[in-house]
């Protein structure tokens, strides 16, 4: 099971965190501090796994961004590496050659996508197309909702003007 997902920039800035096991706020910041200390200082040729507090943290670097997942001791590390990649590929497709800035400004979208890939700490969908179709459907629905909202606001504004 995946216990949490972290996206950390090379400077140690947090870009996204998702916790699948309960951690208090205090623990969370401690975990992030500890892990960014360990992972950011690892050389490029070392293995992408870190044994940490009885768990394993698997990470992968993309440009200036580190994506880490903390998993149980008996999970398959290479599989987790590929789950990370699976996520990035979908992000890439969604944003159109994704860069760190996309994730900073649209981190909530990154969360939505992550929610379609992982659920309750397990991989729920390995089919890239299915995930993309769902996300598109959601975006479409949101756009409609947004239009509705703005038209409603428009009507309200009109009505209040008329008064």
């Amino acid at each position: 099971m995946i216990h949490f997902v972290l996206l950390i920039s090379r400077q140690g800035k947090v870009r996204l965190t998702k916790w699948y096991s309960p951690y208090s706020m205090k623990e969370r910041s401690k975990v992030i501090r500890e892990l960014s200390g360990i992972i950011l200082n690892r050389g490029p040729k070392l293995c992408k796994f870190v044994e940490w507090r009885g768990y394993k943290v698997v990470y992968r670097r993309y440009a200036g961004l580190y994506i880490c997942m903390c998993v149980d001791h008996d999970d398959n590390e290479l599989e987790i590496l590929e789950i990370i990649h699976h996520y990035v590929v979908i992000l890439d497709h969604y944003f159109g050659s994704v860069c760190e800035l996309d994730l900073i400004f649209n981190f909530h979208k990154a969360y939505y996508i992550l929610d379609e890939i992982l659920i309750a700490g397990e991989l729920q969908e390995s089919n890239k197309k299915t995930v993309e179709r769902l996300i598109d459907a959601q975006d479409l629905l949101e756009e409609v909702a947004e239009e509705d909202a703005s038209s409603v606001n428009h009507i309200i504004a009109q009505a209040s003007k008329n008064k």
Partner: protein, 959 residues
Amino acid sequence: MGSQGGFGQSKEFLDLIKSIGECRSKAEEDRIVLREIETLKTRLSSPNTPKFKLKEYLIRLLYVEMLGHDASFGYIHAVKMTHDENLLLKRTGYLAVTLFLNEDHDLIILIVNTIQKDLKSDNYLVVCAALNAVCRLINEETIPAVLPQVVELLGHQKEAVRKKAVMALHRFYQRAPGSVSHLISNFRKRLCDNDPGVMGAALCPLFDLITIDADAYKDLVVSFVNILKQVAERRLPKSYDYHQMPAPFIQIKLLKILALLGSGDKKASEQMYTIVGDIMRKCDSTSNIGNAILYECICCVSSLHPNPKLLEAAADAISKFLKSDSHNLRYLGIDALSRLIKISPEIADAAQHQLAVIDCLEDPDDTLKRKTFELLYKMTKSSNVEVIVDRMIQYMISISDSHYKTEIASRCVELAEQFAPSNQWFIQAMNKVFEHAGDLVNAKVAHNLMRLIAEGFGEDDDAADTQLRSSAVESYLQIMGEPKLPSAFLQVICWVLGEYGTADGKYSASYITGKLCDVAEAHLADDTVKAYAITALMKIYSFEIAAGRAVDVLPECQSLIEEMLASHSTDLQQRAYELQAILSLDANAVEKIMPMNSTCDDIEIDKSLSFLNGYVQQAVENGAQPYIPESERSGMSNISNFKSQEDHESSTHALRFEAYELPKPMLSQNVPPILASSTELVPVPEPSYVSDILQPATSAPSGSDAGPSELRLRLDGVQRKWGRPTYSSATPSTSSNDAVKIQNEATQRDSVGMSNSKARDVSYDSRKQQVEISPEKQKLAASLFGGVSKSDGRQPSSSQKVSKHQNPTSDKSRAAKAAAPDTAVVKTPQTPPDLLDLSEPSISSSAPSVDPFKQWEGLLDLKQDPTPVSAGGVGSTETSDFMSLFTDMSLNVPSDGVAGTMPNVINGNGLGGIMADHSAQQLNKGPNLKQALEKDARVRQMGVTPSGQNPNLFKDLLG
């Protein structure tokens, strides 16, 4: 398509992110965030804020919390937003609550109603959003509220909903297995779902269920094998492919399940052999995901009923992993090796594995090193325990990570206990472990050590036991002067000195007591150590008195005792008073109280305290309340220990509405302490000083009688780890034999080294550099792997002529080794054939087909690449050079090349693949470059520029 112009955010939000991005210090960032929090606080609670603006504020709040600041004031707004009719706001609300709230948060109860409503929505996307929240937020108490709807959704027409419903049920099962136990059949049903995604999701809960009880699912073996077969034959839609592998994630999950089902079940295993073998053959070992499947196959094979063919395939795969340049693969190789070694120990005999393992052990990569130690831990035998524990201790000293230090320390102790070749070695090893990690190891370990010294090795050999004790005393007297010894170690030292310090008559009582006083004075803050020290003093004095010698209490001891008499700790006080009382008694009485060398005698304990029955009866007749056991006193459950409280709460986890019971009248004054101590006197694994305090201090003799015996009482609860059978089978029982054996081993090792050096002389000119690394490693390999195969992996790479020379010499040494125990050297050509068998195939496989020049090149390569390289050696380094160039270059090439960047491709064959990928990226370059430029321009318009601090912001992640 997703990133609309300007990232779709308001100017305010962009400014916030920009200013945080440009912060120079943490303090500056905090200031900005605190200001933002103030803004959000007023805006979110203002009634005039338009709804669509609320959405953005909530996202800003998420951002604030992500930066590590408290955003709890806004949680309620997130909850409110989930109630909204507008889907845009609802989704944002759900996202926010899943990120903000833990499942035990008070606000959850306010969301349940909304979730219930949304689960019934006509819009499947709303249902999906609600199910996401269900997975994250629903706790044990609220499961019943949504369970019926979730079950209904298992039959929803949209596969996305079915999938999430399965996962939600899985989550419920993890939370509270009891709540969904009647629904487990649904998981089996979903296995036959038309949609592979739903089927894949159903594998998660089934995996959990099978982990708990494999027997109940044996009937599914055929189905799982069939599914796996279909997946491997690419019968699933092509969109499930990932890097040209058919649905690899589903394959891995299925392999995990098969491993569980086939474990220890011959019949089930036989059904799986074919498919697992097929998959192993089909795996593409140039891609990460292919190797992931391969690794999972090895894990599966190692858990199935052994099958020689599969084991062979697994061993091949492992050797490929171990030879790889990628640390990832070597790590997995080591892990796989440690799994396989359990069922086929002979795999460790392969020489190339041995050297690869040693390379990993000396690798600067900590992760790899630790994994290797794990492997060594699993393959420790009495023949290699010294080397392994020695290495472990060295590593333990060098690291600072306390979590791992604890683990490795307890492993050292465990191995040393199980396989110790001699007493001296054991004591030395323990000293080192305790000296460097004493405060980290479990208290049990310390007690085990005391117990061991007290009981000896268990055989009826008093001489050996005495020797063990005196060597312990000796080493402790040496070591105890050192500053900063851990408390646990000092306790052991004090105890041993007290028991055995004067036993062999080598040291005088005043010398030992002086040392003990030093310890107590040097550790004034540590009451436990002081208590151990004073009890030790008491023992030594009473032994002296019992032996009829005059006791002269050193002045420093006297002052120490006086200090203790006035100590704040009642425990120390009591011990000091007891000591004083003993000093004034005569020899006869003292011998009764403190019999010499009695730590191993059992003391009969009447746990029911039947001798008090009369007294209790009388008290009850006089109107005292009868005793109610702790577990029955419901009002007291808060005070009772944590576990029973847990039990209590789980049985009645609903809220309790009835009033608290009135406090019970106090029991009569005399009964409680005795009863309390009765529960405390039961042997406990951990030391608890409460027991000493609670012991009635009134009757001095009986109290002090319990003093020395208390250690033994505690030890009774300790799990008996001392592996007597393995030990006695491994080494002869008497210590003199031990010594002989060790000497023999030493000479064996020497002779191995000699043979290596001889061989080296012969081949010296042909491989100068290599020689400098190999002898130590060979030696290490020999000592680690018990010298099973002296022919190491390097041999094949030396020329045939050399190996011809080498063979006779090593044969001789082998013959010598075989004869070593009898010391009569039988120099006959009859050598053990198995040893030769090991070396020859590898020679014949590589040497004859290669021309000498190629081999020279291969040898030179060995400097960088320690694995045995045949003709392909030159190619591989070139490849890696090219690879590094390529990865550097590819950072600058923006691309869509999903399958392109594979930093872990190591095989020389992968070259072609990389070239192909590379050209594909070139093709992709055009439109992407444009896109990137557009984005760049857009960003610059907004005024966010990459500073020196964050130069990578614009770099495509997949570039």
